[in-house]
């Protein structure tokens, strides 16, 4: 058991998988010699050499396309797209190539690869370098979408993503890179599609992801301590596959659903969760399902503006209190 940062957990996970399987290769911009602009891949080049850890040109389409061609023919590439926002310049692979290949070829061709990127706000980077992009990528049948909120989940879920035979978007959160957490020694392997109940509760269910998990837990503690409201917090961890059973089970118990999302309001991942619950657990609900999100605005750069935009512990608390009339 050691304390590790979320950042170092990335390198450890990649190293674990590269050691296990020589078909695992890693490419991206500034990932090798420099160890990544977020320093999340330091040491990999030294350990595995330039044949397996590759600095690329600023050519995101070439990165994802090459990863796909390699994956189709036997390698297990991990591709880094530095900031999640840059997925937009190579979106064809996300939308049209990775997820459709297996289906269109009637199962002849698979695409076992992982795309890692750092998303999310809190760094005062402005509208083009701060986005949570779950709702850019989860609508494609065939593509999996994972987002870890802790160092141990980074390792376990990234390992699971690398071993998965489907293409996986692995969405890290920039503001969590410095976060520390306990991590067991030895190999760590988790399962995609499994949500985690981080805090059991009876009065309401919060479904959260990434950085919002931590704010949700803090909000739940505050709701308990200050208002006697007992909220269950679920770290959904993986949007595709989605652990619907866990979500529905919790709502069956609490009767109330809140999603906490970092993305702007319209068509965030929470809309899918709410829609599933509203359809399948309608009669379990004791009140409206509520989405707590960034408002429908691009993210501003200045710190006080950005802080106001992204859901805060206080906003989560206030929204839930108001909705529960607590």
């Amino acid at each position: 058991m050691a304390e590790l940062t979320y950042r170092d957990a990335v390198a450890r996970a990649i190293a674990q998988e590269m050691t296990r399987d020589e078909n695992v290769v890693f490419l991206g911009e500034d990932v090798a010699k420099a160890g990544g602009v977020f320093k999340a891949t330091v040491g990999l080049l030294d350990k595995f050499g330039p044949k397996r850890v590759i600095d690329t040109p600023i050519s995101e389409q070439a990165i994802l396309g090459a990863a796909m061609g390699a994956a189709m023919t036997g390698l297990r590439p991990i591709a880094e797209i530095m900031f999640a926002d840059f997925i937009a310049v190579c979106y064809d692979y996300i939308a049209n190539e990775f997820p459709k290949t297996r289906y269109m070829t009637n199962g002849q061709v698979g695409c076992p690869l992982v795309v890692r990127c750092g998303g999310g706000g809190g760094s005062r980077f402005g509208a083009q370098h701060s986005q949570c992009i779950e709702n850019w990528v989860m609508q494609f049948p065939g593509l999996k979408v994972v987002s870890p909120s802790s160092p141990v989940d980074v390792i376990g879920l990234l390992a699971a993503a690398v071993r998965d035979d489907d293409p996986v978007m692995f969405l890290e959160h920039k503001s969590l890179y410095a976060m520390k957490g306990e991590v067991p020694d030895g190999e760590i392997l988790d399962r995609l599609g499994t949500a985690k109940i981080l805090r059991a509760g009876t009065d309401a269910t919060i479904i959260a992801l990434g950085m919002m998990v931590h704010r949700s837990v803090a909000a739940a503690e505050k709701l308990q301590a200050e208002y006697g409201v007992n909220v269950e917090v679920i770290d959904v961890r993986s949007l595709v596959p989605l652990d619907t059973q866990c979500i529905l089970g919790s709502v069956a118990k609490t009767g109330r659903l809140f999603t906490v999302e970092e993305n702007p309001r319209v068509l965030g991942w929470g809309a899918e969760v709410v829609s599933i619950v509203a359809d399948e657990a309608f009669y379990d609900l004791d009140g409206p399902p509520v989405r707590i999100t960034t408002p429908n605005i691009p993210l501003p750069a200045a710190d006080q503006l950005e802080d106001m935009a992204i859901p805060s512990v206080d906003r989560i608390v206030a929204t839930i209190r108001k909705s529960l009339s607590a």
Binding site: L64, A66, M68, G69, G74, E97, R102, T105, N106, P241
Partner: protein, 366 residues
Amino acid sequence: MVKWNISVARSFAGRAPVETINMAKMTPAAGKPGALPPNDDIGEAKRLELYRLQVLLREAEQRAFDLFLQNQIKGTSHLSLGQEAIAAGCAAAMQPGDLSFCTYRGHAHTLARGVPVEKVLGELMGRDNGLMRGKGGSMHLTSVEHGVMGSYAIIGAHIPIACGAAWRAQYKGASDVSVCFFGDGTTNIGAFHEGINYAAIHKLPVVFVCENNLYMEYTPIADVIPVKHPAADRASAYGLERILIDGNDADVVYRTMLKAYARARAGEGPSLIECLTYRHSGHSRADPAKYRPEGELEKWKQRDPIKIYRERLKSFDFPDETMAAIDAEIKKIIDDATTACQAAPTTSTDILFTDVYADGGWAWRN
């Protein structure tokens, strides 16, 4: 109007100057009239294979077209009528295990690798005997067992993908070459630039074949590029040699590819080869190709690759019966395939839900 003067790379491997030849003055058949079937670098067997392949592609696509007209094939399709020398020449120079990456205009390249006509027509007809049982359709023909790693319908996407397959070969020390086909118009999309650059810096064993048929869908390529040759005139931007060849002469294509593949296998890196050609039909099923200047098609039909090749064989003293026998064999293959497809059941709808994910199913949640 088409200009017949094109530059042809004389020496491939080195940096030798390119030679400008006048295609109009070329004898359609380059062999010496009256000579015996030559045992030159190509040889008799390969020549017959090249002829057979071209006829096969021509007749299979002609049949696909007829079936459209009879509404037995739905959706769209993009034929390579007139461009067969490229598909034939490229495939005939490949070795088993080499990989083809095709476009929506992929029937010819798929068939040229040995995929049965029945499987291709079946796919177009949405039958259960189709290559992908109807799930992919005309634009996505794929047959991994024949090295056809897919047909890609988004312009340029497969250029980086082919790089990736070549990267795997390099990484594993395998000797296969990835061959990536695309049109003139594809040279203007970002993925072209990113992919060719990427291949060049890693010296990947990939060969990029640009089939310059003078048109994108309906717009002439000359209208949208500031250079004359969309691929050849850009090769130097990637440190590559300028290679421009006559894409209607299967021997020229075959020879050029042999060298390019050898270069790739030897670790000397990618090649970008522009093949000058012309499509006889419209861009797709929907297109009567009225945008072409009068006489252009007729001029190119004089340089029909199959006509050229038949005359070449004749000039090498192959007897007419040899070609007639091949023609007959092909006709039978295609008739049989058509009959088989017509008899085949349409795909059962249970496959709608298979192979979305690697577990074989479509469940995305529990």
